[in-house]
Symmetry: C5
């Protein structure tokens, strides 16, 4: 790890040990070429390792398995960082290539350093399982992050349906689609290693891979459900927006309908005609006030009956 | 049942009897391991039993059938509790593992206790059928619960289209999707037991399984139709919300259009110009009142013609 | 027909005659069992006949064909009554089982009674064709009924877009989905009888079945188009609802924008300030009236230019 | 052509000539039967020819090819007339059956009459190609007609989003769906004649059919894109309708918000209280007018800042 | 290149050299025919080359590969120019036919002219790879162009949701669909050349084609995601449009609800009744003003509580 060139000298390649070499920064092509050379691997894969924008792929040949997957590192916030990781499994050698020094495998590396039994003694294929399992865990973490974001939205929409929420919602939906796209290649890679001419995987490790595949299936299912949910939230948003509009309109309509007829009445008795007999009545003013109160009451009853109040 | 360890001592495993052992609380791994050991089963399944978050699966080996399904227990309300139940069928032994002591099989257990002939005498495969049938019945109950919830909605929407209804609707839709997801593994499990190297199922029990499969097909169909309906209800909601808005707007427009021109007229004759000949006319006031009545009538006719009244 | 028990005594089962026995009311299990017994049929089918809530199915054995289909009886109104009808074809015997005495086969029964040649003389397979053809005709009638309902909607929506129309529309859509679900099993049943080990169908009757299958394909196509249309009508509804709203808003805006500035002007000259020189002018009043007319004209021109008038 | 019975007498059936008999009006069953008889064809096809409501079909037997397709005749306007045309190809005989005397093949018939070389000399299979090519051309014309209708819509929607446009849009969408449904059977028919035991088609004519198939594939693609476009236009419509509403609302809000506060102010100084010191001030009136101007200015700035002006 | 006829004389066809002849302007049929003749190719392809409106196709025969693809040339703006390019690969000869002199292959032609080693020395199959790679690059450029257009939209929608944005959005969506349609034939062509009886492609060039295929797969994925995004933007637009409407309505409602009751109050004390005791009170005027202030404050508190302010 780290500075490959130094490690190389000390590398006594022997059948009795399992190697895991994890390369950070796939852009140092020379090092990768030397590595590929050293382990006598097909030179073809170099480009696949280096070109991190490529679609993940699996290639099984008689003496090695190569595949690349997208690993997701959920950061704080919505943005999920995606990184291409390539694996080469050949007998007891496992090579992994990462774009940058991320903490995808921190936990496993820790266990290796501490010399925790199981991992150290098992073969390269079991180690591969552990790494893929770590990646799958990261998928789960990403999904959970997105789901918790999704879970916050209904309450926010109910409080105040702002378009920013649709923006966030579409963002989450995009991330869910991306997650689904990332899962498939890993699933395919596992199916290939399981069903292929899998001399590369020992029979006692196969169940672990089968279990991993099951987890990925379930992950796909859950992602689909989350996508469904996010689509339902769009409906929720628009219903709340329409509701908000209805509320505003009701207030406007009630206030206007209440006071405009009354204002008209006041306007009538504010006219300056010489001969307006009502104006001279002793009880003209209270009579008009009473009429106004009656009118207002009628309106309120009408709104009550319409269930607007 | 219940406290397994006690039962174990008394368990004289004999080919002449059928056993049904129902384990509640799958988290007591030790007990499960002992059980698996006792019946000489593949140790692999232990993890599948214990990990209740896993996707349901089927595994058929030459001497046993293992599968897990999601059982739904419709509670009062919308929330459907889902529980993973695993089954192992080996010759005349049927093992079932539940997460918690639910009442999925109360009815069947009751019949067994009362010694009702058919169940007791038939083989473990028939018992398996009965258990799966009970689970299918629970699916139906869940679907019916959701459908009756769905049936209440149109009336509520017509009365008052509130966004809470969309919320409920999306909730039901989610539950319907979950139901669909739960049905499939059971269907698959049955297809496997039917078509697989089904030495595990006696030929006279197969028709029962076939019937169960038919029921599950129909359940899928009905769930799909309910999903369709719930999508139609979204349209219904938005049409009622728009209708409500139109109603409010009409009242506002009618009241405003009626009184604002009249108020203007009153305003004109409320001006304080020295030379306003109309003000001095003897019939000025009644003439203006008549003009106002005419204007209002014209407006009302216009609204009548627009079919707003 | 009718009272089976009486008929039984007189039933001299002979290879030289074709029998068509149509049973109404499938809930008299005893009778059905006797019938199944009498013709020496598989007892398994009894449950399939009796349980009318089951999904339609086909079962072909070496000596008989059993299948059940959903027959639709379009009633006056939108509600389509669905009834499960089961058929058993064995050599020259055709048994059909209906839930209740409906008029699905009135026409054919009539022709049989009148001794119309073709039907009487032909085999049980041809008779089966005629019955299925009658059911297919009912499908067509149902579809036509739904389509004529659908055809009424655009005009109603244009007249007044009320949410009840969306309700009706969704109802029709549901019925169309149900129709599609009903067609498929019949299509399957026919494909089975056509392609299966069809010793049960004589080669000269096969073309009729082929023709029936063609009709069902076309029916599926037409149902799909109707579903498409009904979805288009939802758009139509919402566009008319929005249009209606726009119309209401325009009237409100025009009336308000016309009179509120004029009212303000009148209000200004209704103020009681001591020193308002305009009030004392001789032509103050006509000048203000002219100003008002000008303002109104300007507004009207503005609306004209906006194409709101 | 025309009156078949007369032609029959003169019909010396000889292997050395190619015949094309085009029958108008398929309802004269007697004539069709005589024709079928005369050329010794399978009587089965008669019904397929006569029943023009049937779904198009292909039937290939050892000595003839029968198929029917829907030909579209784009009329002026949106309505596309659809007509069932059946073809029988047997050695050097080509029979075609049309519902009514349309101008589907005018051009080809013209070329035949003028004795234009290629057509006259080539076999019946090449003639069939020409006829199908003419039908395909009509499909293209139909599609182009629909597309030009579709192209007019955006401008109309932008000018004034009226629901009639949604009506037209849905109409066009329906026609596009119908077109898609019409293309498929012709494609199938060609695939059958290409790949089937095509002793009926000479190897030098096959490339023409291959080319035709390519054209139909492309037609399907283009129809799909047009359907996509028509769905996008629905969004466009609703966005313009909402825009229109927003515009109307803005005018209402600006006018109202500008003048209602001013009117209130005027109303205050129109009150008849005895002690209102402002009324007696010399500069009360101009001060109030100035205040009003200030208020209006403030409002206008607010609207400016909200970008409503 | 350019003027073909001149080049022809000097064309000494020899097995030792690789030829790439790029024809601009496919409408000079005579020249194309001579070319096809000269290299002894199937005359059938001439029509496929000349008819540029045809759907792209692949044809593999024993001695040559022919295929045509749509090349996209992203121009400034949204409009993507599409051009049909046909390729013929036969041993060491590569013919390409373009509609017009575009700059699809400028870069490669440049490298050829400068005599850059690799290209000149490699076979016609490698050259084909380079050309297809250039076309794929153009696809990427087109997609990037569309995506950057898409990326501008959210901000524009947030600033001011105008229907023109929906228009642009639908335009981009159409282009994305077109891009997807263009990718597929190229993918198919490559699969054919890879998997077909590919004597035409040397084994050491195949990996390059495989890589190209991977790129096209990824391109399809990215295009799909962009289509998803553009659909999400439609929701965003409508949510902003509704938001804008809500904002306008709120201002209208607040202003109206604030001043209409106050105006009414002013109107009441503007009435001319003889006996209105309040008018004669010394503190009538300030009392009314205080009442008005109180009313306005109450309204503002109500709006505050409704979160409209």
């Amino acid at each position: 790890e780290g500075n490959l060139s130094k490690i190389f000298e000390n590398l006594n390649y022997s059948k009795n040990f399992n190697f895991w070499i994890n390369v950070h920064g796939v852009h140092d092509i020379e090092l990768i070429k030397r590595l590929i050379d050293h382990f006598d691997l097909d030179k073809m894969v170099v480009q696949d390792i280096v070109d991190t924008t490529q679609r993940p792929k699996v290639e099984v040949s008689s003496d090695m398995v190569f595949f690349s997957v997208k690993s997701l590192l959920p950061q704080n916030g919505l943005n999920i960082e995606s990184e291409q990781i390539s694996f080469i499994l050949k007998e007891n050698i496992l090579l992994s290539f990462q774009e940058k020094k991320g903490d995808h495998f921190e936990y496993i590396r820790g266990r290796l350093r501490e010399g925790k039994g199981l991992v150290r003694k098992s073969g390269a294929d079991y180690l591969l399982y552990l790494l893929l399992d770590a990646i799958t865990d990261n998928y789960y973490t990403s999904l959970n992050g997105l789901e918790s974001r999704l879970n916050e939205l209904p309450q926010k929409i109910m409080d105040d349906p702002k378009p920013e929420q649709i923006f966030k919602l579409e963002h989450i939906k995009q991330s869910l689609f991306n997650l689904r796209k990332a899962i498939n290649p890993l699933k395919e890679a596992i199916i290939f290693t399981e069903k292929g001419p899998s001399a590369h995987i020992h029979s006692d490790v196969i169940p672990f891979f089968a279990d991993l595949k099951d987890q990925l299936w379930q992950l796909t299912d859950e992602t689909d459900l989350s996508i469904h949910r996010s689509e339902g939230l769009t409906n929720l948003f628009f219903s709340y927006q329409g509701h908000r509009m209805n509320e505003v309109m009701k207030v406007l309509t009630i206030v206007t309908s209440l006071f405009i007829p009354l204002s008209f009445l006041a306007g009538v008795y504010g006219m300056n005609f010489k001969f307006m007999p009502e104006l001279d009545w002793n009880y003209g003013y209270p009579a008009v006030l009473a009429l106004m109160a009656l009118l207002a009451l009628g309106m309120l009853l009408f709104f009550k009956q319409k269930k607007w109040l």
